[in-house]
Structures are given as structure tokens and as C-alpha cells.
Symmetry: C2
Subunit: 386 residues, 2 copies
């Protein structure tokens, strides 16, 4: 395996940015990532652009359109879509392209504009809905319902209370209050989460990630090429992408994250105990609790206790979602996976300001997308080291 590093990373503000469009957001993220790396557009040899296509004004071939504005053209540019993990899929392919030895410098961009409400938008939500409009979607199974069902089974079987779920939202909003790029930079109380408008029991609206606009960009370089850039490299120790297997699901619980996490730890030669901080796919509060266990941060059934004991809070044992996560930083689909990388890069460089994890050396990102027969469609896990 070729040694590779992130040499540039950037994120736009996330939020309902009604006055901005897909190109504008993409331009800002790419410009800032180039600047962060000290790179010129001509340094980029291959590019992958994640887009869920949620914006009705997004044309086909958005990759070329978004990058041409900044003079990145002529090179192979591919748009990828993989539901909520479109961004980390693009990042994984940029890494894969460098692994061939044919390219030394690759760019990954993720951009999504979701706040423009149109009939198309509503239909796209349906399309996204249960993962498969003709299967889960036809039964009215939207993501909140799916996660609520898994949560209910889990809460009957293990020591997990409604309050534990709410605590995840409290934590991530607290972290987001320290992140100037987050959608909601405001703390919420346990009572506010518990009393928030119910979406699908046990999940209230403050247990669900919002509708967001935003973009994020990362530039990857091979070891040889790292010195071309002015930034401090953050090494990619593992890049893993898996799909669902849709079989033998115990308690409806998807096993995609466990498989991806296992492969990533093996590739990086580290274990969960070596991870100093993580950005985890908290599309719903319950999901984060489940993923503590899936990623080996605690044992099966102990996820609720993990948050109850405060271990994933900033300043504690293993901070999770210091950026605010999907719940509070926001979740513009294809931007999310790369924004997770941006957060870890900032942390490992010691540039995370008031939300800095002291002494952080190794960080993990976990991004999931789509549903199918009750299993998650795609999970990517990346392990980065300074």
C-alpha cells in the first residue's frame, strides 16, 4: 500500500444557506482547500466529486462544472453518489486513485444543496426515504422510522433509556457551539431534547439531523508528493468502503459498521483503544450509541452507559463528534464524509481552537448511507494519523 496523506482540507459553513447555490458552495470549499495545501489548480491530477443530486438545479456532470470555475480541468473528473456517504466515497476513490501509482495528487469534493424546497425535492426525499422507494419507501419506512425501530428493540434488550439518547444531542450541540462552521452553534438541554416534537418514538426532532447546505474538500498526496505542499501532512492509515450484506441481521441491527471498522483497524494496524477522537455518523442520536459499540469503543450493550459516563464528551476519554456531528454541525449529504475528514485534520494539526482535543494523534471518521432490507447500504471508515 502506498503511503498517502491529506495535504489540504476545507469546509464551508453548513446550514440553510438560501442565498447560495451548489457551484458557489463547491467553489468556496475547493478554493479554501487549495489555499490550505498551498496548491495550484494545476497540481490536481484526478478528482472525485460527491453529490447526492438533491438540488434540482444541479446538472449532470457537476464535477466538471464545479471544478472548472477554479481552473481544475482536462483531468479525469468523476461524480460519485452513494446516498449519505457520497462524500466519503469520493474521498476513498481519490485515495484509491493514488494507490494505483498513476496519480500523486487527487482531490475529493462533496457538495449538497438541500434547502430549496421544490416538488422535486419532496420526491427526492421519498427516493432517499427508505433507501429504496419501491421497497422500504413503499411501506412508509423513512430513515427516522427505521432507526426508531432498531432503537426500540435495543432499548428493550439493553440498558438504554430515552435520556441516554437525548444526551447524545446535548453533547453534539455543545461541541457545535464551539464550531464556527456548524449549522446550530447553540447548546440544548436534556429537557429540550426530551420534549422536542416527536418524529418517531423514541426520536424527537432534536434527535434527528437537519436539512443542510454545504460543501467540503480534501486534497490527498502520495508520500513523494507531500513535500510539494506547504501544509503539515495528515497520514491516511486506512481507507475502507463496504456495502451491506442484508443477511442474518440480529435485532434488525445493521452490521456494516462493524465490518468496515474491523477492516480499517486491520489496515491501519491499530485498535479502538488507539483512537483519540472520532467523527461518527450520528444521523440520529441512537445511531451514535450503536456505533460506539460497532466501532469497539465499548462492548455490545454498553453504548448508553458510555455516553452516560460522559466518555465521548470533549475533554474526556475519547471525544466523539467534536465538530457537532450531523446532528448539530449539519448534514449536507455529500459534504458530510469530507467534512468529517476536515474536522479530524484540524484536530490532528492542533488547529481546532476551543474544541481542540489535547495531544490528539489518531482520529477516525465513520460515514454511512442508504438502507436496504434493513441493512445500511454503504459504510466508509477512515483512520488518520498526524
Amino acid at each position: 500500500m502506498r503511503k498517502t496523506a491529506v495535504v489540504g482540507a476545507a469546509q464551508t459553513p453548513f446550514g440553510k444557506l438560501y442565498e447560495r447555490d451548489t457551484r458557489d458552495l463547491a467553489e468556496e470549499a475547493v478554493f479554501k482547500a487549495l489555499k490550505d495545501a498551498g496548491a495550484r489548480p494545476s497540481d490536481i491530477q484526478v478528482a472525485f466529486v460527491g453529490s447526492g443530486g438533491m438540488d434540482p438545479t444541479t446538472p449532470m456532470m457537476i464535477g466538471q462544472i464545479a471544478l472548472e470555475q477554479l481552473g481544475i480541468k482536462g483531468i479525469p473528473i468523476t461524480r460519485v453518489e452513494n446516498a449519505c456517504a457520497s462524500g466519503s466515497n469520493a474521498f476513498h476513490l481519490a485515495w484509491l486513485a493514488v494507490q494505483t501509482g498513476m496519480y500523486d495528487v487527487a482531490l475529493a469534493l462533496g457538495v449538497e444543496k438541500m434547502s430549496t424546497p421544490t416538488p422535486e425535492q419532496a420526491r427526492m426525499a421519498m427516493r432517499l426515504g427508505g433507501g429504496d422507494a419501491l421497497l422500504e419507501g413503499s411501506m412508509g419506512l423513512f430513515p427516522p422510522g427505521i432507526f426508531a425501530m432498531i432503537a426500540q428493540i435495543y432499548m428493550e434488550k439493553y440498558d438504554c433509556r430515552r435520556e441516554d439518547l437525548a444526551m447524545i444531542s446535548v453533547k453534539n450541540h455543545k461541541h457545535a457551539s464551539l464550531n464556527p462552521l456548524a449549522q446550530y452553534q447553540k447548546e440544548v438541554t436534556l429537557e429540550e431534547v426530551m420534549n422536542s416534537r416527536q418524529v418517531a418514538y423514541p426520536l424527537g426532532v432534536l434527535d434527528c439531523c437537519p436539512i443542510s447546505d454545504g460543501a467540503a474538500c480534501a486534497i490527498i498526496a502520495s508520500e513523494d508528493a507531500v513535500k510539494r505542499f506547504s501544509s503539515k501532512p495528515v497520514w491516511i492509515r486506512a481507507s475502507v468502503q463496504v456495502s451491506g450484506t442484508y443477511e442474518d441481521l440480529d435485532d434488525l441491527r445493521p452490521d456494516t459498521t462493524q465490518r468496515a471498522g474491523f477492516q480499517a483497524y486491520e489496515m491501519a494496524g491499530v485498535g479502538p483503544e488507539d483512537i483519540d477522537l472520532a467523527e461518527v455518523h450520528d444521523c440520529f442520536t441512537f445511531a451514535e450509541i450503536m456505533h460506539y459499540e460497532d466501532l469497539g469503543f465499548c462492548n455490545l450493550g454498553e453504548g448508553a452507559r458510555y455516553i452516560r459516563e460522559g466518555k465521548p464528551f470533549l475533554g474526556r476519554e475519547k471525544p466523539v463528534n467534536t465538530s457537532g456531528g450531523l446532528l448539530a454541525k449539519g448534514h449536507p449529504l455529500a459534504a458530510t464524509g469530507i467534512a468529517q475528514v476536515y474536522e479530524i485534520v484540524q484536530q490532528l494539526r492542533g488547529q481546532a481552537g476551543p474544541r481542540q482535543v489535547e495531544g490528539a494523534r489518531i482520529g477516525l471518521t465513520h460515514n454511512g448511507g442508504g438502507f436496504r432490507h434493513g441493512d445500511v447500504g454503504i459504510v466508509t471508515v477512515h483512520i488518520l494519523e498526524r
Copy 2:
């Protein structure tokens, strides 16, 4: 560069297949490609699925959904979109994945369902329209108009008459009449093309590719893995993807194909004179004439003479679009690039039946997509050898 081969390829019938849907088409193509290779679903280690998303019932994450039906799951699966070249983009990435050495067997699928007319469909056509709805699209510049403009300038400057354009359609329909998977298996006369309903002068409706449904699939293996399969390998000598540069366009003429062709010849270590047959992106009759020149089959300005002299007809010097091409075989966007590979594979194996090119040893595929500032957004060129 790792030596790789196509070990399985398949195509569904192309046409307005009202009774079939995206999954059904995908299933047929993948099933037949597996059968062609003598492969099991578990042999596939990584997959790329091209989809332009033209079907309003196509959900996100169509890659996993399409492949899961046949038991291909768990592995990394990525949906890619790159307008009319989405399929060859998927094929290129499957090849690239094998180049890393991390994978030995990769699958590329392209599937498109375009015949279901809905408001969404109409809007998608707009989206596709000028390549960029906010730029060319806003000026009413749809693909036929763009190609008609380039054709008019070309016809003023070079020896090219309306009849020469029409002859391309005559040739490709003649070839399609020998292809049981083609959308239009019926010859047309020069007069019929010349008198066909005008779309944008000089292009009539028989100068334009149709709306089509269909799917195609290819399985790629590294040299080491080739022996696992029962088929005769067809070697991939070059796989090239480029984007537009959008600058210094002479006579509005895109230079993407020239750049991609040049790189492909260099990678394969062959020249245009070594190509025995080619599948070329004949979205409009004029495009094929231009591409004869771009790919070096003849000199600049001599494309019309090339068809007038009959050289690209089956049985003559260098048959082009023996499958019937986009014009007569049909053009289900993301299926096209892989269907081109299927045709060349059939020919190089000597399995093309009544349209067999005798003694064919080296074949080329050329697939383009999208427009931006008058330049083509993406071009891929593949060179295959038996």
C-alpha cells in the same frame, strides 16, 4: 501498469422497453455477464455502476440495489455519473481499481431507463440539455443545437455535404439491421435521412440518436485472475478518461476526443492505423465524421470523404459502429459506454455473427458526455486487443 482483460461482457436489448424497469435491466446485464465469464457473484471484489439517474424511480445507491439482486454485496460498490459517458466512466474506474493491486476482479455496470415520460423526465432533459442548465441550457442550447452549430461551421470550411452526414445514419442503421440487440434493426435510405423531420439544421431526426432503455455489464480481471474464468480474455491495452479544457476552441470544435485518443494510443503503444474497428460516440451523424478526424482515422477536413468512400462500412477498411452505434443501436445513457465494450469484445472473440469483422485484432471504443462552454465535458477511449 498491470495487465488486465475483459473476461465477461453482456448487453440487454436496447429500445423503448416500456414494460421493463431499471432493476430488471440491470439484473439481465449482470446475470449474462457473469454467465459469459463463467463467474460467480462472489468472484466480484469491487463494482462501479454508471447511472445517469434518468429514471424517476431510480433510488439513490442504485449500485447496491441493482447488484444485490444477484448476490453481489458486501464489497465496495460506487455509483458514478458523468452524463452520456457514465458507463465508460464506471468501466475506467473498474480498470483503475484493478490497477491498485488491491483487487483482481472488478465489475462495471451501466443502466438507464429513459422511456418513461414524466415531468421529472422532461426536467432532466433540460438538466442534460446544454450540459449546464444555467449556462448553455438557459440559452436554449440543447445537444442537437450545439452539434448543428459545429456542423454548419465545419461544412462551410471543409468539403462536407448534407448527404455525407446522412450516409453515417445509413451505415449505422445498416449495421444495426444485423444486431439483434439494436433498437432499430431496419435499414434506412439516404433519402429517408435527408427528408427526415428537421431538428436543427443540418440535422434531421434520423441524424439524432433516440431515447432508449437498456443496460450493459463488463467484468475485468487482472492477468493472474484471468484463468479463473471460462471465457477468452480480451486485453485492455488502454483506458483513458479526460475532461474538457474549455479553451482555445477552434471553430467551436471540442478537442477532448483528440486529447483522449492521443493518450490512449500512447498508453497502448499503437496508432490509428492499427485499429481494426471502432465504436464511436455518434450521438449525431456529424459527430461521427468529426471523430474520424479526432481519432486519426483520417486527416482534418477529410471526415466526410472518409464516409463518402465507404471506408467505415462493415467489410471495408475500418468498420465503425458495427453495433449500429448510438444512432441505431440506441443510447441509454449510462449503458452506452459499456455496450461499446461489449460489441468490441464480441468482435475480437469472433462472436459477432453476421456483422463479424474478419480477422479483427484491435478495437477501440470512444464515449463522450456533457457540454460546457462549448467543449465536451468528458471523453473516454479504450483500446482492446484479443
